[in-house]
Subunit: 315 residues, 4 copies
């Protein structure tokens, strides 16, 4: 049994020393370490790793980190919501997202065309540029064929980008599928609709992606999930692995509470009643803000994985 | 300015006396009253009312209440997630959902085929019965035509049900559209996929529903939203009204916090920076468990609306 | 096993019908019913009932309800924090507390002398009146004797009030002890300090109250706790019963989460590891805003208790 | 205006690089950076710094960090609750606190004499050893004089310890007062009570500490507060500075929500309505688990302060 150890700061501390000290503080610090160790284990033992996240995390600076994780072959399957797709493309095309405040004068922001997402801002002009660029991108893929599943469509969009920090770019480069079941739930949905008015034979086939989700992992291989936040991205990742026998490793990281019976707040314990997570799986529920907790847990894991030679760092 | 008033119990209290006393307690009690008054106002002033909710609320006993609200012409447009569709159909076909405990032995539940959703249970056999019944239902509508938007498909399913407490039944009866942008994110997604393997020309058109969402309300008419919980259902309802000029009345009721910048925790204040909610709109953010807070706020409103003769009660 | 039942509104609903319907909705609704039933049980089986609450609840309209519960002999021992003592006295002397908004211009409030507590206001003039009245009240009790335990001191203050809605008034009338371990943590602390400068032999004996806390319940009698909110009031109530063998019935009602290991978020499960709550006790953790949840749970219990003739209602 | 920057991991990352990258991610990451910068500012500008924390943080490994902060002259005044005092002494005497799980079999823990605090354990034998050692410690100080304010009493206890990681030891060494208004709210309260039965003239003077709290800072000097968690420790620190004109710098770090009007969840905004925090103060509300967030914010600040030569590091 491990005991609590007094945390002490020392000058010029290395991050991995910090994260390993965290593990002995207790409360959520310890859960972050448990998550970190589980990530190391799922990667080392060759699991197929699903990474799900919500759109607001792409609004944030985690976006480049997700792209890096695809490049490092940590994330093998991505599941997200459409806002994240839109913002990844905006950023790939050079749009900046200002940092503001949670306590703003929202009417003043409205007049400046500044749309608030917590303490971040998406400018109206970023949406306008997105609108301008998406139509020609869709035309290119329409020229190839008329019917796309969502993951095929996102693959084609990623091929048209050129930004190492882009999730779509890295996913297309590494053939990592991106699933986005509610593809119409955002500005992109509107643009798809407008596009389809001009091209009546253009079909976005959501049902077809179900087949690809099922074949993204198999019953026999080990499966791991890192679910950041809740909602449809978390649920869809779980669904995709449940049908193939359930998860061998799972990290649920969220601020949502179990008390309302929501998917967002559902714990790894609850998941075992469904067989979503196997009985003997390594499973950790971490409760806290992903913008802080995920970099900590993941950087701790990356240091360890690079030390073991499991991941390869490019110059 | 209203002052705090000491709450006192009296024997045989009527619900409307209770709810009006709540308003003068303070904290979330007062916000429940603000929500209640806003519902009365949006209905009285003839707004088109969007009601969004997450699947777990259909797992709960709120399901029959949602059906009642459609029947009472309070809810004019429904937005939800696919789990709720599945469970509404299961219940319409007579399946029971046991009440359990948040703190169960989840491995024991698994062995009994009891899937836990907070403190509620969905039995494996309910999923099996759903599987058995859904295929013939889809065959019936395939016989009519081959391409359906999601809301058309749900309309057809509702026509095949016969349960006054069913959301789909009441929605079809009253021509209330049900939008469900992530239609494949559940067991129903798997069944649609299996069905489409047998019927290659069967198309579920998600993009097509965008048109119907836009025309569900107009720029000129007043628009109100009651968003219960967060995620894609909340976001989609907002999206549908944003394009038509934003909301005149809004109630966001959720347990999610604003602190992580998520859609689930986004406040009515934040919404004003986007124009999702108009500057001068009646907008209330209520933080608490919907299973308790919504019946309170809504029953308070229904009493008032029936007193004013705005809603008609059937015998 | 109970099943979920569809909730339906009906005109002129009685509160007890409403609360019993809540129990079959699920999630926190069901926990409110569990709490209600546990209150009925602890009272019916003759337990000594501890009621603990935080100061903000006395700022709210729950204050008169707490006074009523003392009068109805539901609450036998009170534990709270000093802000609640101050505000109970202010209200007993006629001060009003306005209802404001969670999202105020706090600098403007400051300039108006309006101190915000969530969406409630305490006016500077209420503090000034408290300052004016407390000194003569202390003089009266100093004339009797020079050394008081905190509960004795509060008893004497209650005797000087004349307001049926006052917690102190009802407690003194019914000989219900009020424990307040951090008596100096508020404006009252400052006034006690000023008073003691003038009266060097005036002693507030906190240690002496420990004896009274221990004898407020005995090892052999059944003990119940209704802990509203967290912090020192919750902890002190538990401490007082732990030493006498632990609780037979417990309701923890709070918005605090278990995830940080705090007393405020500590669950009734955790309490069993300490023996704070007995193995086989009726124990319920309810997560939600007390301003809403407590009136619901308690009014449900009061209806039932009055029906069974366990409590007597005065005209 | 700062923009969001893509976070990227690099091998052998230094902690200060990590923390400065966090600042550009958004959401609570950014607030951690704001907190860190505010700590640097309050220290650099010579403010008197109040540090308040709850007992569970002393259960955790933050205890040694708090001791270090006293030693580094970052924390000038300490306010806490009595459980933290008890556990600091236990640890100073060599007791270990095992790390367990949030989801334990609490009845089994009870039988083993393991008391759970979140995912940490305090053993019965640690309480027994505390009981054995505290009486002789009290005898020593009783031999000196008969009447102690709480902070004097804690000063004397600290002198009897010999552990660099002890909060009491460092506080006594550096003449940093520790305020603990609810001194009887724990096992120590029971021991004080037992001691006072043997020594009728022994007086713990809580009112007397009010004078020392007031003189711990002055109206003219700059005052800063780092409030970790909520409850009486947070409130007492605020009270102590409010009377001296309010805070110039404030960090509130907690998991509690503003929605219930509790002191624990009270924001730095709300504090401005009271004058608890000055209009133009640097004030940050950070929402998250202190066991993770505080080491991050504080280590970032310590690196910067040591680089600027403001703090001196001992070998």
């Amino acid at each position: 049994m491990t005991n609590v150890a007094d945390f002490k700061w020392s000058k010029d501390m290395k991050l991995n020393k910090f994260t390993s000290s965290l593990g002995k503080i207790g409360f959520q610090s310890t859960e972050i370490m448990n998550a970190s160790n589980t990530i190391v284990k799922m990667k080392t033992e060759g699991a197929k790793i699903f990474l799900s996240f919500t759109s607001n995390m792409v609004t944030s600076g985690l976006r480049g980190f997700f792209a890096q994780l695809i490049d490092l072959k940590i994330a093998n399957i991505i599941i997200t919501t459409v806002g994240g797709i839109e913002e990844d493309i905006m950023k790939a095309k050079g749009e900046d997202f200002p940092i503001g405040s949670f306590f703003s004068d929202d009417k003043a922001l409205y007049e400046r065309g500044h749309n608030r997402v917590g303490n971040l801002i998406i400018k109206n002009e970023s949406y306008e540029k997105f609108e301008d660029m998406i139509d020609p991108m869709l035309e290119k893929l329409y020229a190839k064929k008329k019917r796309y599943t969502v993951s095929e469509l996102l693959y084609e969009l990623g091929l048209q980008l050129n930004d190492k920090n882009s999730i779509l770019y890295q996913a297309s480069k590494h053939n990592v599928p991106i699933f986005c079941p509610a593809i119409t739930d955002g500005a992109f949905g509107f643009h798809l609709y407008s596009f389809s008015l001009k091209h009546k034979d253009f079909i976005v086939d959501v049902v077809g992606d179900f087949s690809r989700l099922l074949s993204a992992s198999s019953y026999d291989e080990k499966k791991g999930l890192i679910a950041l936040g809740g909602g449809v991205s978390k649920h869809h990742a779980i669904l995709g692995t449940l049908i193939n026998g359930g998860l061998d490793y799972a990290i649920y990281m969220t601020t949502a509470n179990y008390t309302s019976g929501s998917m967002s707040g559902a714990t790894t314990q609850e998941a075992k009643s469904w067989g979503k997570i196997k009985d003997d799986a390594d499973a950790v529920t971490v409760i806290g803000d992903v913008s802080v907790f995920f970099p900590l847990a993941m950087c701790g894991a990356l240091e360890e994985l690079s030390e073991r030679g499991v991941i390869e760092i490019k110059k």
